[in-house]
């Protein structure tokens, strides 16, 4: 991390309102509210999907009808009326877009406000961006550069049209539609998302990136992401999320699946700052997400890094199934809750192959009246001889009205494996604050500094562009939490 950038960040921290709360006024085509088989058929038809996908959706829907919302998390979730949600919204199509100039100027303006101008991105950073605006992917950049290497990076819908065999083969292979209530819902109604395939032996030369944004009032967003890294390939993928400010709660139930074949490595980074609700806990996003990677081949590796500062309620456990021998799973997380936010998040590491290794580093930061729980499962099967897990869960409390909780589950079925779990809970000490103040740094900046230091182990895992944004977010989301 460049020190200069860190300091700029601290300087910038002056506003405490949610900066991304604006609504883009463009014509939307939306389905009627509510959920039934007709709506699912409508979505599938609108998207011109092959038969197998419609079947998949319907099977998922029927399964979902038999399921119940999970109630084991340490969360207070107000009842959700699934019939009061619009399941499909797309900007009204005008024509096929072949260049950036043809993109709706208002849409571009929205991206500019978010600071992810496609033009900028295109020219400067070497980051390929697939911008998901509500439900339809608007513009994919860099696809030509990537194409040369045989990399497929496109919206999920495009993948369905152009690469149905890959979609059919891998979709649901890591997160089956019946996995959990929200995964089933997503499998039935998913709108769009990103798709990525890295061919054998290819090291993806750029950081792939998607920015999600929830826009239309009352639309849930059901993203579907599928990443396949073929043998010996490498990819680093970044996902950033913001949503405009709204009073109603909005449901977001995404599914992300990653498949890593033999010797492949996938790094998946998320910075999530969806609208967390106001100071009194009104509004905000419900972020109920299923993310899972499968290390299918031997010596494969999947690494999750997440910085979670937004959403009113977060329910999310990115994990890895370590199927291949000698495969590696990693999870690095910083989760911040302030005001009335609630988070129940952690990781699942399922060791099946021999000599598999997993690492979990979780840093929770709670402030205000919030509740922040770590929940993690480490499961080592009988076959998974000589496997190792190391988990470290740290909680940092700001103030005395918030809560931090740790729920580790460890399940080992063989005697040659080693599982370690460390947990700490701490507060920012008054001595640390005074030390900073005595050097001329005020309380707010001191907290930013200390919290970023605390989270450094995780932040350093992020790609550079993301790390800067993440640091800024940490400071911004904790403003006014002390003193």
């Amino acid at each position: 991390m460049k020190e200069e950038e860190q300091n700029n960040i601290l300087d910038e921290v002056t506003q405490s309102d949610y900066k991304y709360g604006f609504v883009t006024d463009i014509e939307m085509e939306t389905a009627a509210k509510g959920l039934n088989e007709d709506i699912i058929r409508y979505i599938s038809m609108k998207k011109n999907e092959p038969e197998f996908l419609l079947e998949y959706r319907l099977r998922a829907y029927r399964k979902w009808l038999t399921m119940k919302e999970p109630d084991w998390a340490h969360l207070k979730i107000p009842p959700i009326d699934y019939q009061d949600i619009i399941y499909y919204a797309a900007p009204k199509e005008k024509k096929e877009l072949s260049s950036l100039d043809e993109v709706d100027p208002e849409l571009l303006e929205t991206f500019n406000k978010l600071g992810i101008s496609l033009e900028e991105q295109k020219r400067l950073s070497g980051v390929a961006v697939d911008a998901v605006f509500d439900s339809v992917s608007v513009k994919t950049t860099f696809s030509e550069t990537l194409e040369k290497q045989g990399i497929i990076f496109c919206s999920f819908s495009e993948a369905v049209q152009n690469h149905p065999e890959l979609v059919k083969k891998y979709m649901g292979s890591v997160v089956p539609y019946g996995d959990n209530y929200f995964a089933a819902l997503n499998s039935a109604v998913f709108s769009d998302g990103s798709f990525c395939y890295i061919p054998k032996g290819v090291k993806c030369p750029v950081e792939l990136s998607t920015y999600f944004r929830i826009n239309t009032a009352g639309t849930g967003q059901f993203e579907r992401t599928l990443l396949i890294a073929d043998e010996g390939s490498y990819v680093s993928y970044m996902e950033g999320c913001t949503a405009p400010q709204r009073d109603e709660n909005q449901l977001h139930a995404a599914v992300v699946e990653i498949v890593a074949l033999k010797d492949a490595e996938v790094k998946y980074s998320t910075v999530q700052n969806w609208y967390p609700g106001d100071k009194d806990g009104k509004g905000g996003i419900y972020n109920f997400v299923t993310k899972r990677g499968m290390c299918k081949g031997s010596h494969s590796k999947i690494s999750w890094t997440q910085v979670e500062t937004g959403s009113a309620i977060t329910w999310k456990y990115p994990g890895c199934i370590l199927l291949g021998d000698n495969s590696v799973g990693e999870f690095y997380s910083v989760a911040v809750t302030n005001n009335h936010q609630q988070a129940d998040t952690g990781s699942k590491m399922i060791h099946i192959g021999k000599n598999t290794k997993s690492t979990i580093i979780s840093k929770g930061i709670s402030a205000g009246f919030s509740n922040n729980s770590y929940r993690g499962l480490v499961k080592i099967s009988k076959r998974a001889e000589n496997s190792r897990n190391y988990s470290q869960c740290d909680s940092l409390l700001l103030g005395d009205k918030c809560g931090a909780h740790t729920f580790p589950y460890i399940n080992t079925a063989n005697s040659s494996s080693i599982v370690e779990h460390e947990a700490t809970t701490s507060k920012i000490s008054e001595d640390q604050l005074f030390y900073c103040q005595q050097r001329g740094i005020d309380t707010e900046n001191a907290i930013g500094l200390i919290v970023n230091g605390y989270a450094k182990e995780v932040l350093k895992q992020l790609p550079m562009e993301f790390a800067v944004e993440a640091q800024k977010l940490l400071s911004v989301s904790l403003e006014g939490s002390v003193g």
Binding site: D11, Y435, G440, L449
Partner: protein, 250 residues
């Protein structure tokens, strides 16, 4: 520069300082000595503005202003520096980042633009040399895993970086071996100018062999009971604090 008048301070209802008076002028070095538990650190903390102390009476005038209502960071920006007896660790925050933030906050207060990375690194190098602190220390997290001596050297390094008008060194000599003590004292001596002042708080006379004070004050039972020149430290060394106790009870 600093004028403390009839200062009475308590913590949790217990009175620590009982009507303390002290005047420090530009260019002077004052040593405050005294047995443990007589209020030496309290005095240092109260000047720097540490929360938790209750000012029952009196005032602290610094550069003509009563600073008792001033938040600690503003006192720091006004040029008051406290070298801590027990510097805290701040895990994950590099010394470089910490100092850069501090210096730029000072500059902001003075209406100056932040220092460029190049300028800053140059300044760091220069000051590292001055206080004989190894560059590797400044690459680590603030005080994390530093030995006692390294922590104290690091305090002097920060003082060199921030160039305070009034530096208060609280028991900077405690826990130092003779070599580290010399380095620390050298640093302080090099930073001495006609414009700034230093208050050295110490338990032993030893440090004053290297930092020669203009005045020595003996703090006992929350008050300064005796003041004199540097020779007073020698008398104390010889006769011990018992002598002061006897003197003050007369």
């Amino acid at each position: 520069m600093l004028k403390i008048k009839d200062l009475q301070v308590s913590i949790n209802g217990k009175t620590i300082l009982r009507g303390l008076n002290l005047e420090v002028n530009k260019g002077e070095v004052h040593a405050i000595m005294g047995p443990n538990g007589t209020g030496k650190s309290t005095l240092a903390n109260v000047i720097a503005g540490k929360p938790g102390y209750h000012i029952d009476k009196g005032e602290i005038i610094y550069k003509g202003k009563n600073i008792l209502e001033m938040p600690p960071e503003v006192r720091a920006q006004e040029g008051i520096f406290l070298g801590f007896q027990y510097p805290v660790e701040i895990p994950g925050v590099s010394m470089t980042n910490f100092m850069r933030t501090a210096i730029n906050e000072h500059r902001k207060y003075k209406g100056l633009d932040p220092m460029s990375a190049g300028e800053f690194l140059k300044l760091m190098k220069e000051k590292q040399k001055l206080v004989e602190i190894q560059a590797k220390l400044t690459n680590r997290s603030v005080n994390e895993g530093f030995s006692g001596g390294e922590k104290k050297k690091n305090e002097i390094f920060q003082m060199a970086m921030l160039e305070p008008n009034l530096a208060i060194l609280d028991e900077t000599d405690s826990g130092l071996d003779i070599d580290a003590l010399k380095i620390v004292a050298n640093g302080v001596n090099k930073l001495r100018t006609k414009e700034n002042a230093t208050i050295v708080i110490t338990h032993y006379q030893r440090l004053l062999d290297y930092i020669v004070p203009d005045f020595v004050h003996v703090l006992f039972d929350g008050k300064i009971v005796k003041s004199g020149g540097k020779e007073l430290a020698l008398v104390l060394e010889e006769k011990g604090y018992e002598w002061i106790k006897d003197e003050s009870s007369k």
